[in-house]
Symmetry: D2
Subunit: 298 residues, 4 copies
C-alpha cells in the first residue's frame, strides 16, 4: 500500500524502514529535514510539508502519525483535518492517553475521517523488525489497512482490540504491567547485590532468560545491560517515566481496582527523582522529638 | 552417567524422563510404588528402598533428591549419610531455603560427602524437556556432574552460581521476581476486566506474548489459561504460596533492601486467603465512630 | 452574628447547634422539613426555601453551605447567585474537591460574591462541640467571619490556610493521612488477632490511648468500638471511601510525590469491596499452568 | 517500694526520676558513673556494681532492667541469675523481641526467678512524667509490683497484657503502627510541600493537632518539630529504625496477615538509607535497552 508517515523519530523512522522492507510505498514527513532525507535514500518518498505529504497520497489516504503524545498530536490533526477527505484513514501510533483517542475519533468522525488508535510495543527493535500492535477503532476501517499491520508486526503480533480508545487503553495497561515487571526484576537484583554471595549478574540474567519461569524479553535485555556494564556502575538509578504507568494507576483508582504492584513501581520511580525527601525529614524529626533519636544534619 | 533419583513427584518424575532421553541410567526411588513402576516401564531402574538405590549405584555415587522442601530433605539425608561414602555427590533440587542448604553442605562435608544445592525452574514442562538450573557448591564437584545439568537444561539454561547456598538463593530470588511479575500481569488484567471495553483476554494475552516488551513465558501461560477458560469463571482467586516469596522478603528486610513490589505481591496472596478481614472491620468500625458512616452488618 | 445554614444533615445539624450555643442567630434550610423544625425548636430560624433564607438575612449576608460534595453544591450555588448581592459571603464547608472550590470562587468573584472553602474535621462530635476548620479564600473575607470559626472550633482549632482552594486541599490531605493512620491501626490489630496471644482489644486500645506514642483520637475511637463489640463480630470488614483519599493519591501522582502508605490504604479499601478478585484468578491460573498447583474451583 | 534500676540511659534515667517523684526508693546502677552520681544527687541510692545493687535490695528483690535490647540483656541476666533468689522479680522494660522475652522467662523460671516483660511507650517525656506500659508474665507477679506500674504511668496507662512475651509483643505492634502513622503524616506533608499552595507547616500541624480526626501526640510533636525548623531545612531525610517495625512485618508474614502500610513504612525507611539504588540502575538500564531512553551517567 501507499501511505504517509508523519513523525520520524526513533519509532517512526524504524517503522518506515520496516514498511519499506515489506514493499509499501511511504511518503514521509518530519519537522526535521535530516530523517526525511535519510529515509529518501532508503526508498521513501520525502515531503517538505504536511500539505505536500497529503498531496502525494492517493484517495482514500492512509496516514500514520508517530509524534510525541499530547498537544503535538492535536496540532497535527488540526492541520490535517481541512486537507483530508471523507474516507481517509488516520492511524495514531503514539503513546496517547486513550481518552484523547476517543475524543479525536469523535472529532474526526464529524468530518468523515476514520481514526485508528494504535498502541505500539516492542521498542525500537520491534518497530524496525516486527512490532506488537494493539488497534482500536471501527472494524471495517481496521480491515482496510490490516495488511499494513500484518506486515510490520511479528507473527500473531497485532490485534484488533475493539472500539476507539481500546488500542491505546491496552497499550497503557501493557506499560503498567511493564513497570511492575521491571521493578520486580530490579528488586530481585538488588537483593542479589546486597546478599552475602558474589553473583555475576550477566550470567544470572542469562540463566533466568533461558528456561526459567521468568524468562522473556525483559530478562534478555537485563542480560544485555549487564553485558555492557557488569555492575551498572556507570549509571545513576534515576527512573524516569512517561505517562502510561501513571494513567494505569489513575484508571485503576477510577475503576476501584487495587493495583499495589503497578502503583508502587510508579512511586519508586518518583522516589528515585528525589535526592532527599520531605517525608523523610518529617519522620526523622518525629523520631527525634519523641525518642531523642539523633537526626542527620545537612 | 548413572545416577539415583529420590522423589518421583511431578518434578522428579519429569526429570527422570528427561535424563532417560539423554541416555543417562537412572535408579529411581519414591515412597509410592506407582511412579517407580511407571518409570521402570520407560527404562529407569526401580528400587524399593533408599538402601537398595544406594547399592545399585557405582562409586562415587551421584544422587539427586527431589522431595518436598523442609523436614523431608533432612530425614532422607539422615538415612543416606551412613549409606554413602566419601566422594559421593548429593544433589538437592527442591525449593529449599538456602540457609538450610548451607547447613546441609556443612553437615555432609564432615562425612566427606559433596552437596550441591540446585534451584530448578521452568515448571513441569521444563523438568521434562529442558529446565533452568542454578547450582551452588564446590566448583570441582559441579564440574564432575556438569554433563547431567547440561543435558537436562535448555541451552544456556544452567549456571554454576557459587558457593553452597547460592543455587537455592538464586531460585528464591527468582521466585520473588516471579511473584511480582505474576501480580503485575494479574493487576493489568483486572484493570482490563473493570474497564469500559470488552476485551477478549486470550487474544490480548496472545498479542502481548508476541512482540511486546512484556512478552515471555508467563504471558504465554496467561494466553493458555484464558484459552481454557476465557474469563476464568470456573476458578476462585485464592492465591496460595509456598515459601520462597516470603523468604525473599525476609532476606530483603535483613539486607535492608526495599522490595515493595515483591512484598505486596506476597501480601495480596495472603489477603486472598481471607474471606473477611479483621483490619477491614477495624477501619469500618472507626469510620462509623467518627463519621457515623454505616457499617455492613454480618 | 446572624448567618444562614443550608444543609442540615449530620454535620450541618450539629454545626447549627454549636452556633446556637455561641449565641449566633442561624437561619436554617434543608430540603427535608424535619431537621428544620427540630432546629426551630432549639432556637434556629427555619426557612422553607433558599429564597426565604436569603431574605431573612441582613446584608452583607453570610451563608454556610453544608451539603454533599459534588453537583449539589453547584446546583445550590446556581440558585443562590442571582439572589445574593456583592459583598455577601458564601462559606462552603463540605468535603469538596479543592479544584472545584477554586473554580467556584472564581465564578462567584465575577458577581462580587465572596467564597470561603472550609475543610471541616472532627467528625459529628467536632461539629457539635468544637470542630477543626481549615479555611481558604481572601484573608479580609476570612477576618470578617473569623468570630464564627473561633466560636465553633476547639481552641487553636481553626486556621486561615491561604488562597482559595487551600482549605479544601488541607482537608483532602488530612483525610489521606487519616486513611493511612486507620489502616496502620487496623493492621496492627489484625496482627494481634492472628497472634498466639489472647488480647483484650478494648484494653489494648485503652492503654495505647493513654500515654503511648500512638495515642490520639483515633485510638480513643478504637477503644470505643471494641467496648461495643469486643471482637467486631457483628460487622463486615468492608471499607467504603468517599473521595478525599483518592484525590490525595491523584494529586500526589501529579506532584510526583511517593505516597505508598496512603495509596495502599486506599487500595486495601477497594480490595475489601471485592468478594473474589480477577487478579487472584489470574495468579491462581498461572500457578496451575507452570507448576501444576491445584486451583480452587468455584 | 524499694527497687533496683539497671541501665540509666535516656529512658532508665527518666524512669528513676519518675519513681522518686512517687516516693519509691531506687537503687541505681549503670556502667557509666555519671548518671549514677547525678541520680544520687536527686535521691536515688547509687551502687557501683550489679552485685552491690543486689545486695542493697530487700528480699524478694524487684529489679528493673532498662538496657539496650539484644545481647546486653542476656549478659546482665547471666550476671544477675546467680545473685538472685527464688521469688525475686526481674522487670525488663527495653524494646526486646518478644521471643527473647519468652525464652528469658522460661530460663529464669528454672531458678525460681519471676520475669515480667514490659513494653514502655511514651518516649522520654513519658518515662519522666507518665509512661504507657504493656506488661507480660504471671498475673500474680504483676500484681505484686502493680503499684510501681500505676505510679509511673499516666492514668489508664498500664495494662497486664497476658502471659510472658505479650508485653513486648504489644510494644512491637505498637511500634509497627507508629511507623505507619508517622509515614502517613510525613507523606501528607510532602504532598503539601509539593503543592501549589504556600502552607505554614507549623500552623497546619497545630490545627490538625486540635480537634481534627488525626489529632494525637504525633501531630503535636509534628507541630513542635516545625516550630523549631519551619521547613526542616537543617536535617536530612534519613529514617533510621531500631527493630520493632521489622519484627512486626516478620510476624505478620508468619501469621499470613497482610500489612502493606506497616511494610511500606519500613521499606521507605530502608530506601532513605540509600544514596542511589541498584534497583533504580536496573530499571534505568532496561528503559535504555528497549526504548532508547537516556540514562543519567554518574
Amino acid at each position: 500500500m501507499k501511505l504517509g508517515m508523519i513523525g520520524l523519530g526513533k519509532m517512526g523512522f524504524n517503522l518506515v524502514l520496516n514498511l519499506l522492507d515489506h514493499q509499501h510505498e511511504v511518503v514521509v514527513y518530519d519537522v526535521n529535514q535530516e530523517p526525511r532525507q535519510e529515509l529518501a535514500g532508503k526508498g521513501a518518498i520525502p515531503s517538505s510539508s504536511i500539505e505536500e505529504l497529503v498531496g502525494l497520497l492517493p484517495a482514500p489516504r492512509v496516514i500514520w502519525l508517530m509524534v510525541p503524545a499530547g498537544e503535538t498530536v492535536d496540532q497535527i490533526i488540526d492541520v490535517l483535518t481541512p486537507l483530508l477527505s471523507p474516507g481517509d484513514i488516520l492511524i495514531e501510533g503514539g503513546n496517547s492517553n486513550y481518552k484523547d483517542s476517543i475524543a479525536r475519533a469523535d472529532r474526526l468522525r464529524k468530518h468523515g475521517i476514520h481514526f485508528l488508535d494504535v498502541g505500539t510495543s516492542g521498542g525500537m527493535e520491534g518497530a524496525r523488525h516486527g512490532a506488537c500492535l494493539m488497534i482500536g477503532g471501527d472494524k471495517e476501517v481496521f480491515e482496510k489497512v490490516e495488511p499494513i499491520f500484518r506486515d510490520i508486526s511479528v507473527e500473531k503480533g497485532y490485534l484488533y482490540a475493539g472500539k476507539s480508545g481500546s488500542g491505546h487503553f491496552l497499550k497503557m495497561v501493557h506499560n503498567g504491567i511493564e513497570y511492575g515487571m521491571m521493578q520486580a526484576i530490579a528488586e530481585g537484583f538488588e537483593v542479589l547485590h546486597k546478599s552475602p554471595f558474589d553473583f555475576n549478574y550477566e550470567e544470572v540474567a542469562r540463566v533466568w532468560a533461558n528456561g526459567s519461569v521468568i524468562r522473556g524479553w525483559l530478562m534478555e535485555l537485563t542480560e544485555r545491560a549487564f553485558a555492557k556494564d557488569p555492575r551498572l556502575e556507570s549509571i545513576r538509578g534515576v527512573m524516569h517515566s512517561s505517562g502510561e504507568g501513571k494513567w494505569t494507576v489513575e484508571n485503576a483508582l477510577d475503576f476501584q481496582v487495587p493495583t499495589p504492584v503497578i502503583a508502587l513501581s510508579l512511586m519508586m520511580r518518583y522516589r528515585s527523582l528525589e535526592e532527599d525527601t520531605f517525608h523523610g525529614k518529617v519522620v526523622a524529626a518525629l523520631r527525634n522529638e519523641f525518642g531523642g533519636h539523633a537526626v542527620e544534619k545537612k
